[in-house]
Every structure is written in structure tokens, then in C-alpha cells.
């Protein structure tokens, strides 16, 4: 039954373009649809992986009803609330819930705007955005799963601080999910003898699963989405470096002080680290470490101007995008071939996280079409209130508002779509955002990446880290316990400081 439903879902997704293609032209002239046929010529704003789109059908979002954001809000709220309210139901049926929102959106969209327009957006979203996105995550996750942090360590404050720092650095190289997967088990193993260790896991969530990933587009999905939209890879590195270093630095100092206090309260003596047979702290999995820079190169290859590979229903697919996807799949394949099985076993590696991301983001990307179009419609559009909330009376962006608005939404909803919402609220032009409004883009990036740590649901690796820690016997706090005991008293003052210093 489950397989039949999955098959039906995949069939609908894959066959709909073919079906619709036949009727595309007639739908385009549908009198009651708000569809425009536009010619896009702006070379400067052409994002990575997006070719020029000639006479492509576009929706006119200026007069759209806000009801069109229901599927987008629905999938985001499902991701946020179901794991808290009915974790077992969600675990077994999240794919169906995601498919439900996808069908609600696509059927309504194609009915209202015409099948041709629906097909155009379907192809544009999946070929130019979703496939590069998911293949990057797949490659990062697979390569990270073949690297292991090893060593017989006593969980002293010094050792714990160093391990969290290593995890924070890895986060920007292999993604927060991979880094959290690689780091959490050695940290838990080193601290198994300790009674008070909840704070250690919490700081792994803060630094490794969130803030540490802020340095590169590989680190956190929002930054990669920015890259897909045209933000330069090294713009992110250069501009985010001071912020990430500042926040990680403060968090590690706070952690060291807290951990030293709790360490001194331990009744049992520390597990000796003076044994002759002890294994030193080391990263193992050299072939996969070599593959990490290959991922960077594969991602950068999408910036090459190699022309258009093919055009399908107005969507021009750049050769560079195909090259990037092919390279990432090749890296994934090589990683699987060269990795030692015991390393993957030690990391608890399985495909479930990637399946989850694929099933949920397939819907997020599609349902995001209307809210983003509404934001692009500007201050007079249906979501003008959002835009007016982040500009002053002279129409200038208020960066601190961008930081907090992106951050607060990223705390409760997935940070990747939240980033895109505010990226488009700020105009959505990558060239403008990297130059004239660089501080605004920085505020959006920092808000989306850093404040994912505010709650368990802010960023996907938070839940994974919590779940692994619980299975290792750590009594992790509840949803509100995490917020009131840790994130509000520790992170919020740090973010206030960031606001005053950087925005």
C-alpha cells in the first residue's frame, strides 16, 4: 500500500509535465488566469544554474490572494508541529503529509493559472533549484558519513571545547547535518561517565548544528539556496567570517566556563586519559576528506558559462547545472565505493535523513512559488506588510529588522525557505544584495543560520542531535525547556550583541 502511494506520487510528479505539455499552449491563453508572458533579459541578475528564460509564463502576483500561501505555511507548520505533537504518526506518514500539501498546491495552481504555467514552474523549480539542492545535500551527507572523529578521550572542559570547535569548523566544510553526525557520538562517548552533560549537547546544537555552518554555502541549506539564486560562493565566506568567528568565539567561552563549573560538581572522578593504550583524537576517512574540496569545485562549476544544454517548456537548462549535478552524483558514488563500512557504522549512517529532506523539500520548493512571487511584487503586493516592516520611512532597508525577522521565523520554521522569503523581500537581486545592500544580505544570512539554534525545530540537525543524545542516555530538555534554560538566556544576549556590533 505504502509503495503504491509512493509510486502514485512519483508518477504524478513525473508525468504531469508530459501531460500538461500537450495542453500547455491552450492553458496559456486561459482568460481567467493571471498569467503574463515575459521576456527576461537581465544578465546581471541571472542566478547560478538559471538560464535566461524567454517568453516564459509568469504569474502576476500583485493581486493574488493571501490564501495562496496556505500550502507553504501548511508544510512548514507540519514540519514544525507534527514531530512535537504526534512524533510516531509523523515518522510513519510525513511523506504522505508532504504529498498532500504538494497536491493541494499544484492542483489549485494548475487549475487557476493553467496547466502550462504550472508545468513551467514545476520544471523550473525542480530542474534548476531542487535537483542541484538535493544532490549537494546527498553528496555532503554521503562524504561526511565516511569521515569519523575518533579518540579515547575524557570529557574534560578543554577536550569538549576543542571537539565542539572542530565540529564548528567541519560544519562549514561538510554541512551542519554531516558535522553534527560526525561529532556528536565521540563527544557523547567522551562524556559518558559524566552526570551533567545536557549542556554539552546543547552547545553542539548551537555551534556544530547551526552557527558553525555559516561560513560557506555548503554549511547550511539557506546559504546554498542563496548561492543558487546568484550569491557568490566567496562573498559568503568573506562577509560571514567575522560574524561566525565572533559568535562561535563567545559561545565557546561561555561553554568552557559552564562546563568547568559542572565538571567540578561531578561526584565521580574523571575517566583517566593517561592510559598507554588510549587512541588520540583524530579524523579518519582520508578518501572522503579529499572528496570534500571536490564538492566545493563541483558547486563552483555551476558558475561556469557553458551555454544551454536543452530547453524544456520554456525552461533553459544550463550545461553548468548538469555538470554540477553529474559531478555531485559521481562524488557520492566514489564516496560509497571508497569508504570503510566501519566508519559509516560508527557514524550511524543511513539514508533516512536524505529521504526526509527529499520528500519534504520537494513540497517546500513547489509551494514556495506563490509567496516568493508575492514578495517580488513589492510593497504594493499582497505581502507588502512584510516588506514595509523591514524598511524605514525613506524606503531604506533596516538591517537589524532583517536579522531579527529572518531569525525569529527561522527559529520556528525551516531556515532555508525563510532565507528565500527575506532574500526576495530585499528585492531578490543577488548583484544588488552583494554590493549596495551587502549588510542586508549579511543580516538575512546570519539570521537564518544562527537563529536556527533557538529551538529544536529551527534546523533539521537539532532534532537529530537531540535524538542521538537521548539514545545515549542524556536527559535532553523538552521543547520549551531547551528554549527557556538554554537558547533564550545564552543565545539571545549574543544575538543582541551581534545586532549592535554588525547591523
Amino acid at each position: 500500500m505504502k509503495k503504491l502511494i509512493s509510486l502514485a506520487a512519483v508518477s504524478i510528479m513525473l508525468l504531469s509535465p508530459l501531460f500538461i505539455k500537450a495542453y500547455g499552449e491552450s492553458a496559456k491563453t486561459d482568460p481567467h488566469s493571471s498569467v503574463k508572458t515575459e521576456t527576461v533579459h537581465n544578465e546581471n541578475s541571472a542566478p547560478h544554474g538559471e538560464g535566461e528564460i524567454h517568453h516564459a509564463p509568469h504569474i502576476d502576483a500583485k493581486n493574488l490572494s493571501l490564501l495562496w500561501i496556505i500550502p507553504f505555511c501548511g508544510i512548514l507548520l507540519s514540519i514544525a508541529l507534527f514531530p512535537l505533537l504526534t512524533p510516531h504518526f509523523w515518522h510513519h506518514h510525513y511523506g504522505k503529509v508532504s504529498l498532500f500539501w504538494w497536491i493541494v498546491f499544484f492542483v489549485a495552481f494548475s487549475f487557476y493559472f493553467g496547466l502550462g504555467t504550472g508545468t513551467f514552474y514545476l520544471l523550473e523549480v525542480y530542474i534548476l533549484e531542487f535537483i542541484p539542492f538535493i544532490t549537494l545535500l546527498l553528496a555532503l551527507f554521503t562524504v561526511a558519513g565516511g569521515i569519523q572523529l575518533k579518540g579515547d578521550l575524557a570529557g574534560t572542559p578543554k577536550v569538549n571545547t576543542i571537539m565542539i570547535l572542530i565540529g564548528g569548523i567541519l560544519a562549514s566544510l561538510m554541512g551542519t547535518t554531516g558535522a553534527a553526525m560526525v561529532t556528536i557520538r565521540p563527544i557523547l562517548r567522551a562524556n559518558q561517565w559524566r552526570k551533567k552533560k545536557v549542556h554539552i549537547v546543547v552547545f553542539v546544537i548551537f555551534v556544530v548544528a547551526n552557527v558553525g555552518g555559516g561560513l560557506t554555502p555548503l554549511g547550511d541549506p539557506p546559504l546554498f539556496l542563496g548561492f543558487l539564486k546568484g550569491v557568490d560562493f566567496f562573498w559568503t565566506v568573506v562577509h560571514m567570517l567575522p560574524l561566525v568567528a565572533f559568535v562561535v568565539g563567545i559561545l565557546l567561552v561561555i561553554f568552557f566556563i559552564m562546563d568547568t563549573i559542572y565538571y567540578k560538581q561531578e561526584e565521580k572522578p574523571a575517566v583517566s586519559d593517561n592510559s598507554d593504550n588510549k587512541e588520540k583524537l583524530q579524523l579518519v576517512g582520508v578518501p572522503n576528506m579529499i572528496l570534500l574540496p571536490c564538492i566545493v569545485l563541483a558547486v563552483l562549476s555551476s558558475s561556469l558559462n557553458l551555454g544551454t544544454a536543452f530547453t524544456i517548456h520554456y525552461v533553459e537548462v544550463p550545461s553548468a547545472t548538469i555538470l554540477q549535478v553529474a559531478l555531485l552524483l559521481l562524488i557520492t558514488f566514489v564516496s560509497l565505493k571508497v569508504s570503510k563500512p566501519e566508519i559509516r557504522e560508527g557514524n550511524g549512517f543511513n539514508w533516512e535523513p536524505i529521504k526526509e529532506v527529499a520528500k519534504l523539500f520537494a513540497t517546500i520548493f513547489m509551494t514556495m512559488v506563490t509567496p516568493i512571487a508575492m514578495l517580488k511584487a513589492g510593497a504594493d503586493g499582497p505581502m507588502g506588510a512584510v516588506i514595509k516592516g523591514v524598511v524605514d520611512s525613506s524606503g531604506e532597508f533596516i538591517n537589524s529588522h532583517f536579522f531579527w525577522a529572518t531569525g525569529i521565523l527561522s527559529s520556528f520554521l525551516d531556515n532555508a525557505p525563510t532565507y528565500l522569503v527575506f532574500f526576495n523581500t530585499a528585492g531578490g537581486n543577488p548583484v544588488d544584495l552583494m554590493t549596495t545592500h551587502a549588510s542586508t544580505l549579511l543580516a538575512i544570512s546570519a539570521g537564518a543560520v544562527f537563529m536556527g539554534a533557538n529551538t529544536y525545530i529551527g534546523n533539521a540537525p537539532n532534532f537529530m542531535t537531540k535524538s542521538i543524545a537521548e539514545e545515549w542516555g542524556v536527559p535532553m530538555p523538552s521543547f520549551f525547556g531547551y528554549m527557556f534554560k538554554y537558547s533564550i538566556p545564552i543565545l539571545i544576549p549574543v544575538f543582541i550583541l551581534v545586532t549592535y556590533i554588525f547591523f
Binding site: I79, F82, H88, K197, E352, E356, E471
Partner: protein
């Protein structure tokens, strides 16, 4: 024969009271058990005492749980000796014999190893201690095995809650054992007189 305990309310400086108790034990060469209610999470203060403490901004009343023999010898000695510079007979404001005691607990574990540990503690109860409203539950969901990002559940979940009740001497030891387990939350010890 199990030991009897008394809840004794002392009035005065806490350090002096502690010093008196330790000093008395040294002088008598006794090896009695005594526990401060505050330090051992024993629910002892009355509502009026709490209000008085808030109003005066200092704690003058201290609830100490003492073995019967210790309490009786101390009481007798302080009454015989009369007023001293620091130790006064009137320091003992009141005393009550403890008939029984209890505390509530809640446990939650997501790995069989820890579930078994908790079950083992609760299956070997000391003499004179019983469990009330104890409802352990184990849920095994083999499909939930592995690491998940957006839909995390555990393949093993052990939950239990209940009330341990019985003689004070055993209850305080059991509470300490359960409190030392990171996956068990224990409530304050309630005394019945």
C-alpha cells in the same frame, strides 16, 4: 528492626546547629543518621514558615530529620545542661515522629540499556518500601531505528512513573539511587507523622 526517625525543628543559626549535631556525635562517639530537609529535598517547611522567611529575609527555622536515638540523647543532654553560650535547649522548637515517607518519580529512556537499568533499580526495592501507582511501559518500534532529521522517533521508549513509599531510612537511600540516574526525575520526600 527498622530505625525510627524524628523531624526536629531547630531555631537559630544553621552552622551552629550543624556544629552542635556533629559535635554531639563526636562527643558521644555515635554513628547516627541525620539529614537536613533542605539539602535532601524533604518537604518539611510549613506555609507559615515560608511566609515568615520571606518577610524576615532570613532562615531561622531548620528542619532536621534525625534517628530516634540521636534525637532523644541530644534532647536529654541539652535539657540537662541548660543554657549555654551558643547552644540552648529552646533551640529545639518542635519534634514529630515520622510514621512513613514517600516520593514520586518519573523515568524516560530511549535505549534498552537504560530502560533495563531503571527497571533493575525498581525491581530490587529495600525492605519496607513499596511502589504505588507504578506503571512502566516499553514501546518498541523497529521501523523507527536509525538516524532521522525531520521525523525523529526512537525505536525503544521506556517510561515509568510511580510513588515509592515506606520507612524513611530506606526511602532516602532509594531516592538518592534514583536521583543519581540521569534519566529519572524524582520529587521531594513527603513525610507522614
Amino acid at each position: 528492626m527498622s530505625k525510627k526517625f524524628y523531624e526536629v525543628v531547630f531555631e537559630g543559626n544553621l552552622d551552629i546547629i550543624y556544629g552542635m549535631l556533629e559535635g554531639f556525635m563526636l562527643g558521644q562517639d555515635g554513628n547516627w543518621e541525620w539529614y537536613s530537609a533542605k539539602e535532601h529535598n524533604i518537604e518539611a517547611e510549613t506555609f507559615t514558615e515560608i511566609i515568615k522567611e520571606w518577610a524576615s529575609l532570613k532562615t531561622r527555622l531548620h528542619h532536621i530529620i534525625m534517628e530516634e536515638e540521636f534525637f532523644k540523647k541530644l534532647k536529654e543532654a541539652s535539657e540537662k545542661r541548660g543554657e549555654m553560650r551558643f547552644i540552648k535547649a529552646k533551640y529545639i522548637k518542635s519534634f514529630k515522629e515520622i510514621k512513613s515517607s514517600s516520593f514520586s518519580f518519573e523515568a524516560r529512556a530511549y535505549a534498552k540499556k537504560y530502560g533495563e537499568e531503571i527497571k533493575a533499580i525498581l525491581s530490587k526495592l529495600p525492605q519496607g518500601v513499596t511502589l504505588e501507582k507504578y506503571n512502566p511501559s516499553e514501546i518498541i518500534d523497529s521501523e523507527a531505528k536509525g538516524t532521522e532529521l525531520y521525523a525523529p522517533t526512537h525505536d525503544y521508549t521506556f517510561t515509568a512513573e510511580g510513588i515509592a513509599a515506606g520507612e524513611f531510612g530506606e526511602i532516602i537511600k532509594l531516592r538518592k539511587i534514583l536521583d543519581d540516574h540521569p534519566l529519572v526525575e524524582v520529587g521531594k520526600i513527603k513525610l507522614t507523622f
